[in-house]
Amino acid sequence: MEPVLPLFLLVLCGVGLGLVLLVLGQIVNPRRSSRVKRMPYESGVDPFHDARRHVDVRFYLLAIAFLVFDVELLFLYPWAVASGPAPAHVPAAAVVASSTVETDSAPSKVADPSPTTTGARNVAPGIDAAVAAGTVESRHFVFGGTMVFVGLLALGLVYDWRKGVFQWR
């Protein structure tokens, strides 16, 4: 119980201060409302339409296509970093983290549950080290997994193209 007491006091003070300030604000503040005060704030000019407008569905398609390739880039960067030799000036923890992401993401694209992320945490950085430690089968395996991932997304791009998502009509 003893180590929890400071935490409890902290939570009590935080919640208590919030409540006290809310109540004080209710008591002490003057409340004067007017028509102008209730207007929506549009930098002082008249609001000329409703805030909830229809947005063209083409923006949605473009946004989805963008998001897919954005996430693809996000996955490719750790792979690229882990593929090279580990630079000496990078702290080991950062590189281990990136190689963890790599061993986690790329092989999972080929639905292979065997590589474990826990094993990658206590080895040296990079794919080569992961291969040496036995957490990944080989460099080619990782490369193949990444290519399958990229290929699937390229297939999606072709599909988008054929469907005419990139034509603004």
């Binding site: 002490v28 003057p30 004067r32 409302s33 007017s34 028509r35 102008v36 005060k37 207007m39 704030y41 930098s43 002082g44 000019v45």
Partner: protein
């Protein structure tokens, strides 16, 4: 006072306590239309450090502000905007006319420029200068703090005084 208080006890009035809180946590609404705005930014920046007076939290929504700093000339077309922003600020609220243009129209003695914003909204402190130096704006804020401490009330009665309501303004603050 007849009550025996322990040594070291401070007594005060609620009005004075609330005003003390308010004057040290002014949230400015920057209405910067001209070169005075640059000095306003300099006042908020690290060299002059408006935060020493608790007034560094510039907000761009009138709902959150209680000090409007009109920095620069205001043209007639801009006046409805200024007025609406002022009316949308909640009491207690104060106004500083920063610079010659906001205070009097300055060198722009012409039909299109408002010859002092106090023709339309109530102004608490005028800052002379073209543009005023940041130290002058700091002095204005110190003066305003003194004013708040002197006449501030908890429920903002000073904002509904007849003499204040009689101040010239085009748009009445109707309820």
């Amino acid at each position: 006072m007849a009550i025996e208080l322990p040594k070291g006890t401070l007594i005060t009035q609620l009005d004075s306590l609330v005003s003390w809180c308010r004057k040290n946590s002014l949230w400015p609404m920057p209405f910067a239309t001209a070169c005075c705005g640059i000095e306003l930014m300099a006042t908020g920046a690290s060299t002059h450090d408006l935060a020493r007076f608790g007034a560094e939290v510039f907000r761009f929504s009138p709902r959150q502000c209680d000090l409007m700093i009109v920095a620069g000339r205001v043209v007639m077309k801009m006046m409805p905007v200024l007025q609406r922003v002022w009316l949308q600020m909640h009491e207690p609220k104060w106004c500083i006319a920063m610079g010659a243009c906001a205070s009097t129209g300055g060198v722009f003695d012409t039909y299109s420029v408002v010859q002092g914003i106090d023709r339309f909204i109530p102004v608490d402190v005028y800052v002379p200068g073209c543009p005023p130096r940041p130290e002058q704006l700091l002095q204005a804020i110190i003066d305003l703090q003194e004013k708040i401490q002197r006449e501030g009330t908890t429920w903002c009665r000073e904002f509904s005084l007849p003499e204040r309501q009689k101040l010239p303004r085009a748009l009445r603050e109707e309820v």
